[in-house]
Amino acid sequence: MIKAYSSKAASDTSHGLIKKLTLPYMQKKIRRLILLLFRYALIICISYMILYPLLQMLSTSFKHPYDIGSLSSIWIPENITFDNIRIAAIVLNYEKSLLYTFVCTFFVMLLQMFNAAFAGYAFARLKLKGGRLLFGLVLLTIIVPPTSMMLPQYVFFRNFDLFGIFKAITGSKLNLLGKPSSLYLLAALGQGLNAGLFVYIFRQFFRGLPRELEEAAYVDGAGYLRIFFRIVLPSSKPAFLTVGVLSFVWNWNDSYFPRLFNPTDQYLRIRMNTLSAASGGTSNVQLAIGNAISRIPPDIVRLTSQPYDALILTCCSLLIILPLIILFLIIQKHFIEGVERSGIVG
C-alpha cells in the first residue's frame, strides 16, 4: 500500500513538471507577466504626469533669480535659495492671510458638512411626502450653475434683513458683503460650493447603513435627534471624512464665492488672483513688492523682469497649496479608506 502511494505521488509530480513545460502554460505565464509590466508602465506614466507639475513647481521655487533661463540644471537648482519664498510670503502677507483663510474655510466646511448630513439623512431615512420631488430639486441645484444666482444673491447680501428686524433697530439694512458671515450663511443653508453634491453623497451613504440599529434604538425609546447624533453620526465617519475633505479643499481653492461676497485680500486665492491679473504697465507683483518694501530685508536678491514675476507667482502658488499638501500627507490613508467604505455612489 505504501508502495502504491509513493508511486502515485511520483507520477503526480512528474505530471506537474510536464504540465509546467507545456506551451499553453508558458503562454499563460508570459501573458500574465506582460500584463503586469503593462500595468506598472501605465501607473508610472500617470504618476509622472501627476507629479510633474508639483516637482516642477518645487524646483522652480528654489531657483536663484539669476539662474532663470539657465540650462545648467533641470530638476535640482544650481544655487538653492529661500529668497523667492520669503518675498512671496511677504507679498501674500502669508501668516495673517493663512490664518484668516483657514478659519473661514474651516467654518464653511463644518456648516456645509452638517447641513448636508441633515438633509441627506432626511432624504435617506425619514419618509417625506414628496421626498423624490425634493431630491430632484437637489439634483437641480447640482446642475444649475451658481452664476445664475450671482446678481440676486449679491443684492440680497447687500440689503440683508430678517423680516425688517435690523431696519427697525439700526435704521438701515445690514450689509453683509465683505464679511465672512455671508459665506457662513450660504454654507449653513446648504447653498455654497457644490453643496448639492454633498447632500447626494450623504444620502447614498445613509441608505447603505443597516436600518436595524436605528430601529432598535427607537424601540428602546430614543428620539430621532438622539438616534441621529448617538448612532448615525458615529457610524458614518467615512462619509464625514470624505465630504469634509472635499469641502475644505474645494473651498480653499475656490475664488468665485469669496470674490463675489467677501472680496478681501486676506483670502489667499483672491490675493493670488490680484497678483497674477494682467495690468497695463507695471506688473501687480512689482507693485506689491514696492508696497511692502519696508518689510523686505535688504540682503534679498530682487529683479524686475517678467520671468522673475512668474517665479514669484509660482512661489505664491506653492505657499497656497502647501497647507493642502500637509493636510493630504496627514489624512491620506484615512481618506482613501473612507472613500472606499463610504461607497459614495452606491
Partner: protein, 314 residues
C-alpha cells in the same frame, strides 16, 4: 380622558402615528436645506430670469428695473463679441474633454483598485489630484507658460514631446482634424488630470461595490480578464458613467476659458465682469440664463443618451 402623555403639544406629539412622526422629523431635518433652497436658489433664479428682460440698476436698498423685452438677449448674441464664441467653444471643447476624462478616470480607478506590490504608493500619488484639484494645474500653467516658454524659445527645445507626437501623427496620413485634436488633448493633459479627480473617486467607489462573486464565477467559467472587464466591470460601473458625465460637464463648463489675442477669457469671469465691472446687470443676467439653459440642455441630452445603455444591477 386617561390617555398617555397628557395634553398640550407634548401630548399631541405623543399620540402621532409612527409614519407621521417620521415625516415630521424628516421635515425638521430638512428645514435648513429647504430654507436655503428657497432663499438662495429658487428666489434668485426667478429674479435672474426677471432681470434678464430688464435694465437693472443697483440703488440704495435694492434694485430698480425697466422692462426692455428681449433686448438683453439680442445684445448678448449680436452686439457682444465674446459671448457667442464662449458658448460655442464651451460646448465643442468640453464634450470631447469629458469623454477623455471618463475614460481616463475609469482607467485610473481600475489601476488603483487592483492588488499588486507597491499599490499603496500608487494610491497615494493617484489621490493627489483628488485632494489638490485644479490648484496644481493652475500653478503649473503659471510656472510653465512663461518661464519654460522663454527657455524653450531661446533653445529651440519643445514642450514635453508634444512635437514628436505631432510629427508622427502628421506622417501617418490621418486627417488634420484628428491630429489637431490629439495634440490639443496631449497639451491639455494636466487640465484633464486635474478635473478627473472626482470622477476617479466615484468610479473607485463603484468598483468597490461590485460583488466579488461575479468575478469568481467568470473565472470558473473560464473568462479572461479582458472578457471580465467588458462583461462585468463595464456594465456594473455604467451608472457611475452617467454620474461622472453629468458632474464633469458641469465642472468643465464652469471652468471653461479660451485664449483670444493672448488674453484669457473665462465664461464665468466674463459674466462677472459684465455685471460688476461694466455695471450692465441686465445683460449679464441674460447671459447667465443662456448659460444655464445650455448647461441643462446639454446635461439632459447626454444623460438621456447614456441612460439608454446604462445597466442597473438591482
Amino acid at each position: 380622558m386617561n390617555r398617555i402623555g397628557g395634553r398640550g403639544i407634548k401630548g399631541w406629539y405623543y399620540r402621532l402615528e409612527l409614519s407621521r412622526k417620521t415625516r415630521l422629523w424628516g421635515l425638521i431635518f430638512l428645514i435648513p436645506w429647504l430654507t436655503g433652497f428657497l432663499v438662495f436658489f429658487l428666489k434668485p433664479l426667478v429674479e435672474t430670469i426677471y432681470y434678464s428682460f430688464n435694465n437693472v440698476k443697483i440703488i440704495e436698498g435694492g434694485v430698480s428695473t425697466e422692462y426692455v423685452k428681449w433686448n438683453n438677449y439680442i445684445r448678448a448674441f449680436t452686439v457682444d463679441t465674446m459671448f457667442n464664441r464662449l458658448i460655442l467653444t464651451m460646448i465643442s471643447k468640453t464634450l470631447p474633454q469629458v469623454l477623455i476624462v471618463i475614460i481616463f478616470s475609469l482607467l485610473a480607478a481600475i489601476l488603483i483598485n487592483g492588488k499588486y506590490p507597491g499599490r499603496s504608493i500608487a494610491r497615494t500619488i493617484f489621490f493627489i489630484p483628488i485632494i489638490m484639484g485644479t490648484s496644481i494645474a493652475s500653478a503649473s500653467l503659471v510656472g510653465n507658460d512663461i518661464i519654460s516658454q522663454e527657455i524653450m524659445a531661446s533653445t529651440g527645445m519643445n514642450t514635453f514631446g508634444t512635437r514628436l507626437i505631432l510629427d508622427v501623427l502628421a506622417n501617418t496620413g490621418l486627417p488634420t482634424e484628428i491630429v489637431g485634436y490629439v495634440s490639443g488633448a496631449v497639451s491639455g493633459i494636466f487640465q484633464i488630470l486635474a478635473i478627473s479627480g472626482v470622477p476617479t473617486l466615484i468610479f473607485l467607489a463603484g468598483l468597490q461595490s461590485i460583488p466579488p462573486s461575479l468575478y469568481e464565477v467568470a473565472n470558473i467559467e473560464g473568462a479572461s480578464a479582458y472578457e471580465a472587464f467588458w462583461k462585468i466591470t463595464l456594465p456594473m460601473v455604467s451608472p457611475m458613467v452617467l454620474v461622472c458625465a453629468v458632474y464633469s460637464i458641469i465642472d468643465a463648463f464652469f471652468r471653461h476659458t479660451i485664449m483670444v489675442d493672448g488674453t484669457n477669457y473665462g465664461i464665468v469671469n466674463y459674466m462677472y465682469s459684465i455685471a460688476f465691472n461694466q455695471a450692465n446687470y441686465g445683460l449679464s443676467a441674460a447671459m447667465t440664463v443662456v448659460y444655464m439653459l445650455v448647461s441643462i440642455i446639454v446635461v439632459s441630452v447626454v444623460s438621456f443618451l447614456i441612460s439608454k445603455v446604462v445597466f442597473y444591477y438591482d
